[in-house]
């Protein structure tokens, strides 16, 4: 199960992802980000500090949005989740930061 919350903070949208993202719940993540983009958001911070597990399907969703005309910065990955990103090579494609401050700084 996954829960995605969206808060508008300054010039960006903060998406907080809580729980597990597996094949079925990846659809929820997909919908939540899609909705945020449709409502006009261009800059996103994705807080993954409470993301316990992400499957390949979930990674596929995040990877999809990389191709869109938006700025998306992910932060707060725990060691295990970071490892999953790394193995697949997504750490080379997505902007991943350690903390929210770093992420905000990267957003500019």
């Amino acid at each position: 199960m996954v829960d995605v919350k969206r808060i508008q903070e300054g010039n960006y949208d903060l998406l907080t992802v809580v729980g597990d993202v597996d094949a079925s719940s990846s659809i929820e993540l997909d919908n939540a980000i899609e909705e945020a983009i449709e409502s006009g958001g261009k800059k996103f911070l994705i807080d993954c500090s409470n993301l316990d597990y992400i499957s390949s399907a979930g990674l596929g969703v995040l990877e999809e949005f990389r191709k869109r005309d938006i700025t998306m910065i992910i932060y707060g990955l725990n060691e295990k989740v970071a490892n999953v990103f790394e193995i697949l090579g997504l750490d080379q494609l997505l902007v991943i930061k350690q903390t929210k401050e770093e992420a905000k700084a990267a957003l500019g």
Partner: protein, 666 residues
């Protein structure tokens, strides 16, 4: 028999010496009756049809034939007038005996029919009583045949007993209840005719025998025959009883028919759950059965449908009329009629009477519930006030409950079938998937290899394969397709195609992955990707070149160092970056191998396998397991790894595919 009796009579009257004994005729007569009994017993009792009217018809026909023949004799007698032949006692006896034979046939056949009627829905007691009666009659028959008269009064007493037993048996009239109105009328007619025949025969025989008795005493007088008298009495009594019971039952037959209709309707509803019928059919049967059983003048079923609005099944009323009634009820604030909870027989006359243009004065409605949720409503209308009684309300309530159950069952059945179909599809996908895996691994003098792959219940997308490029080069691949199910199996087959078409060109691992990414980018779903590691073994150089495309890091055990490590190299899954930039994320690694070294290829199903506590098997346990069993032959290492993995998870059921390929260098 006829002949002997006549001969005796003839001899006696002629004063000639008898050639046959006195006792012969009664014995022969008894035998004749017995033969008739056996004949009819087999003919009527064994008859398959239990149709009561048919049975009575048989009685009627037998009687009719007997009467016609007997009337023919009478006619002959009349034609002869007062000729000498008509005076001849032998001739009279001949006529008499012939008549007797016919009557006996009629009596016996009727007796057997009565037996069937009485024994309809028999009990053990009734069966015993009947047997006693039959044997008693037989004894009467035998007594008749014996020339000796034991006690004069005894025969009379015995006769009375027989008649009494017959009387007791005659109260069994259960069959009458199963006749409908028309059948009852027919039966009354047939029984009345049978009684008429009986009376006519008795009269003919008795008068004939008294006539003969005036002239000679050497003949068979049926007036003395216990068997015949008892039989006639019994048949008469039962016929009389039946006639009366039938008459009295005539007015109630419609009730019985209605009950029968209810049972049939109920059965129809229950049967409508068969697969070829659908929910619509259940509603159709419900409305038809309900209207027929309570004699409603109009009826409708409203099926709630959130999407397309309500659907109506109607009987002698149109949707416009229904809406008019519904609106009228709403306007008058009549609650409860179209939902459950109140007395359905409530008098709605004063409400319905105010609805102009509608002839209906009473109404009842019941919900049809499926899994406790009201899915439809059945409403019945009658054009008289207080048209439905409590009984009607109970029946319709039962019907609508049964319809609900039928629909529920029907849905369960459909669901089960779909489930079955889904399972079948998965099975096919699984078969396809397993057929994509190689039957054997390319072996070489430089190494020995063993593979294990177990698919989860839901089809996954693990793939491994080997290919000999030339005499000193072997290619090896391991892949994991993202996602599960049939699409994963489909992508896996694409991966296999890519592998076989590219590997034969003897490419470097990096070029191989770049070309594979290029090819797969054009065929994978938008969010799908494949992780892969590709290895090229060069047995001349004793080295392995490999590249990783987002797949789990390769585990390598070095015998010299005595420990296993994971290669840390960069990579990116196939299909993630679908352009030229992909090759920038791929690197080539090379290592030299020496005897005793072990290369372990696996998929994340292994490292992510969880135990009951939710802990993952992880990289460390896998590494330790390889180190522990590094000295064993490759097959054994494989077995140990797998059994350790299953021991860790504590279950045979797996969430993800397990694939492991172990290569041990010689």
């Amino acid at each position: 028999m006829l002949l002997t009796a006549l001969s005796i009579l003839f001899s006696k009257t002629s004063g000639l010496e008898q050639s046959v004994g006195d006792e012969a005729p009664p014995i022969l007569m008894s035998l004749f009756i017995f033969a008739l009994f056996t004949f009819y017993k087999y003919r009527i009792e064994r008859a398959e049809s239990i149709n009561f009217v048919d049975l009575l018809w048989k009685v009627f026909v037998t009687g009719l034939i007997a009467t016609i023949v007997s009337l023919f004799f009478q006619l002959v007698m009349n034609m002869l007038g007062n000729t000498k032949l008509a005076e001849n006692v032998v001739f009279l006896d001949f006529i008499y005996l012939s008549n007797f034979g016919l009557v006996a046939a009629f009596l016996i056949s009727t007796f057997i029919v009565w037996k069937r009627l009485i024994l309809y829905q028999k009990s053990r007691f009734l069966l015993t009583a009947w047997k006693i009666f039959e044997y008693a009659l037989l004894v009467g028959l035998v007594m008749n045949a014996l020339p000796v008269t034991i006690v004069e009064n005894f025969e009379d007493v015995y006769l009375i007993i027989l008649i009494l037993v017959g009387l007791v048996l005659s109260v069994n009239m259960k069959w009458v209840a199963y006749l409908n109105f028309k059948q009852k009328w027919k039966s009354i007619l047939l029984i009345a005719l049978a009684m008429f025949y009986l009376g006519y025969f008795s009269f003919t025989l008795v008068s004939a025998s008294s006539e003969i008795a005036d002239k000679t005493d050497a003949f068979l007088d049926i007036r003395e025959n216990i068997f015949i008298i008892a039989l006639v009495s019994f048949i008469f009594i039962y016929a009389l009883f039946s006639l009366l019971v039938l008459l009295f039952n005539l007015p109630t037959s419609s009730v019985f028919e209605q009950k029968l209709e209810e049972v049939v309707s109920f059965q129809k509803l229950s049967q409508s759950i068969q697969t070829e019928q659908n929910e619509e059919r259940v509603y159709e049967i419900l409305i038809e059965s309900s209207v027929n059983t309570v004699f409603a003048d109009a009826a409708w079923i409203e099926v709630d449908n959130e999407k397309d609005g309500p659907k109506y099944y109607t009987h002698k009323i149109d949707v416009e009329g229904i809406i008019k009634i519904k609106n009228h009820l709403k306007a008058n604030k009549i609650k409860g009629i179209l939902d459950q909870g109140i007395d359905k027989t409530k008098n709605l006359n004063k409400y319905l009477a105010t609805l102009r243009g509608s002839p209906y004065r009473s109404m009842m409605a019941f919900p049809i519930k499926v899994k406790g949720k009201q899915e439809a409503t059945i409403a019945l209308l009658k054009d008289v006030s207080e048209g439905f009684n409590k009984e009607n309300s109970k029946i319709i309530s039962t019907f609508s409950n049964q319809a609900g159950i039928s629909i529920e069952n029907f849905r369960l059945l459909t669901e089960a079938l779909q489930n079955e179909r889904y399972k079948e599809e998965l099975k096919i996908a699984k078969n396809v998937q397993s057929s994509l895996l190689p039957d054997e691994i390319v072996q070489d003098d430089d190494y020995s290899a063993a593979a294990f792959s177990e698919a989860a219940d839901e089809v996954g997308g693990d793939y491994y394969d080997t290919y000999r490029i030339n005499d000193h080069k072997v290619a090896m691949i391991i892949s994991d397709v993202s996602g599960k199910g049939t699409s994963a199996a489909f992508h896996m087959s694409q991966m296999k195609g890519v592998f076989y078409s590219l590997t034969q060109h003897d490419m470097s691992p990096k070029d191989f992955l770049d070309s594979a990414n290029n090819a797969l980018s054009r065929c994978l779903d938008k969010a799908s990707f494949i992780t892969t590691s590709y290895y090229v073994f060069d047995t001349k150089k004793k080295q392995v070149e490999f590249s990783r495309a987002g797949h789990c890091p390769t585990l390598y055990y070095s015998k010299a160092e005595g420990k296993a490590t994971y290669f840390q190299n960069k990579g990116l899954g196939l299909g993630i970056l679908r352009n030229e930039g992909f090759k920038n994320y791929i690197q080539i690694d090379t290592f030299m191998y020496s005897p005793g070294d072990i290369l372990v290829l696996y998929t994340d199903g292994i490292t992510e396998a969880k135990n009951v506590k939710g802990e993952e098997y992880g990289y460390d346990l896998l590494r330790e397991a390889i180190q522990k069993h590094s000295d064993a032959p490759v097959e054994e290492i494989k077995k140990e790894i797998i059994s350790e993995l299953y021991a860790f998870t504590g279950t045979e059921a797996i969430d993800d595919d397990y694939t492991v390929l172990i290569v041990k260098f010689n």
